[in-house]
């Protein structure tokens, strides 16, 4: 293995060694949402014709778990290495900033996708989900995970304490994922909140992803692709700049 491949492997080994916490836990949480919301709302909410509410919920929950875990992987790995001081082992190596980026984001994508797949595998016990356009599913899954892994990288570099990272997670990532249309179609919202939702990039990730399953969505998948792609490009440029200048990691 070359240097960056070793870092990618190490980052994957890190979450794999605590798989109960990093994979099984999030899958179980998603299942609880599915059981409770599915049971409570199945007969009351109809989002799309021919799609049961529980089936509607599955892609949204899978994507939400994927996004949150991709973010958690890079951000928690970095903040732990910074707080414990073992980031120095990496700082002493010949790895370039591009290597760091590829390895940290790569491992985040893997964890996000593994958790997403886990949510599908378990939800198959409860409901049938169609796969209308599989390519869109794969595309949005990888782009969403990469976007959140990169955002986690930025947050991990920026945060100096666990507290700051938790604030980022609880006050930015959580509200934006919950308000992105995981549990509802934004068409059910009043016009004002529909408008607000269009400024939330998470909405496009979930809407585009869901299009892959049902072939219907709130906005065109191409628009979603454009928004997600542009967001990914933006956070990538920011993260690469931070790594290149050694933001908060090289004095």
């Amino acid at each position: 293995m070359s240097g960056w491949q070793t870092l990618l492997y190490k980052e994957m080994l890190r979450f794999w060694k605590v798989a109960f916490q990093t994979i099984a836990g999030p899958v179980l949480t998603a299942m609880l949402y599915l059981l409770i919301f599915g049971h409570a709302l199945e007969d009351h909410v109809k989002v799309y014709e021919r799609v049961s509410y529980t089936a509607f919920l599955v892609p949204g929950l899978a994507m939400m778990s994927l996004l949150q875990n991709a973010f958690a992987n890079s951000s928690s790995s970095l903040i732990m290495s910074k707080v414990m001081g073992n980031l120095v082992f990496l700082l002493l190596t010949p790895l370039s900033y591009v290597h760091w980026f590829v390895a940290y984001v790569g491992a985040s994508v893997v964890r996000g996708v593994v958790v997403g797949l886990g949510v599908f595998a378990v939800s198959a016990l409860f409901t049938q989900v169609s796969f209308a356009q599989p390519l869109w599913i794969i595309l949005f899954a990888f782009m969403g995970a990469a976007l959140m892994g990169t955002l986690g990288l930025i947050a991990g570099l920026w945060a100096e304490k666990f507290d700051q990272l938790a604030a980022f997670q609880n006050f930015v990532v959580m509200p934006m994922t919950f308000l992105s249309g995981v549990f509802y179609s934004i068409h059910s919202l009043p016009p004002f909140w529909q408008g607000v939702s269009h400024f939330n990039p998470f909405f496009y990730m979930i809407d585009g992803f869901r299009y892959g399953f049902f072939g219907v969505s709130d906005v065109s998948p191409w628009l979603s692709l454009g928004v997600v792609g542009a967001s990914l490009l933006l956070v990538t440029l920011v993260a690469l700049h931070m790594l290149r200048t050694g933001y908060k990691i090289r004095g």
Binding site: N86, L92, T93
Partner: protein
Amino acid sequence: MAAIAFQSISKAYPSPKGPKGTTFLAVDNVTLSIEEGEFFGLLGPNGAGKTTMISMLAGLSRPTSGRVSVLGSDVQTDFASARRKLGVVPQELVFDPFFNVREALRIQSGYFGVRNNGAWIDELLESLGLADKASANMRQLSGGMKRRVLVAQALVHKPPVIVLDEPTAGVDVELRQTLWQFIARLNKEGHTVLLTTHYLEEAEALCGRIAMLKSGRIVALDKTSDLLKAASSNVLRFKLDSALPAALAARARVTGRIVQLPAHDAREVEGYLAAVREAGLTATDVEIRKADLEDVFLDVMTQNKDSVHSAGVQA
């Protein structure tokens, strides 16, 4: 070619005291060259700038001005090549709690792109007394064992230049012996070693050449033997139960009951003892010994209270 070359490097940090925007120089225009195969000691009191110099060498922080190179590779512009040639044992006892000892070494080796490194990893584990801890998680190791792993991690890519930043701070006698035997062997095999330590007897025993750093400047730089020669050649040492007469106190180093005074000849010794007797005191356990590096160190540090740059210290 120099193994390590600091060329007019300075490092400014924002001043912790004083108005905002002011800076202080942790390292102040230091030029220092360490040749291949040397065992070099960098000494100085806390806050003298030793770790800052090592951080700049290792690429952990950037010089405000000046350049640093390792075997001809600039640590900023040619960082990948410089870091391959350099093995650094950090001062802080850090570790990654997710991995066991062998995993940590394999991973560190992998970062440098070194493949099939099992034999060398085994040799490192053996030489540093870690063989029976290879599959122990890093969390389970004692402080001394963690320190050994840090040394092994620094050496895992077989760097020709080795930097040890206070590797024996808080470490027991046995590990110190194991460690120094191993490092001395590597030095004999041609590795360059740069060492910072607080234990001056270690520096005296191991280092061929020594630089003393104070307030970010080099205040002494010479062969260890020449530094010892230049110092006042003898030290009068005795014990005293009461306070030392004022006339002597200015020149003496007092540690509890033990008083040490630099003495060049018998007359000086007689003078000291007479002063003690005249004060109505009795010196016990009187002995005269050769000056050691600690005497030189204290001498240099007190002589340079105003951080005067002594002449001719550039290598």
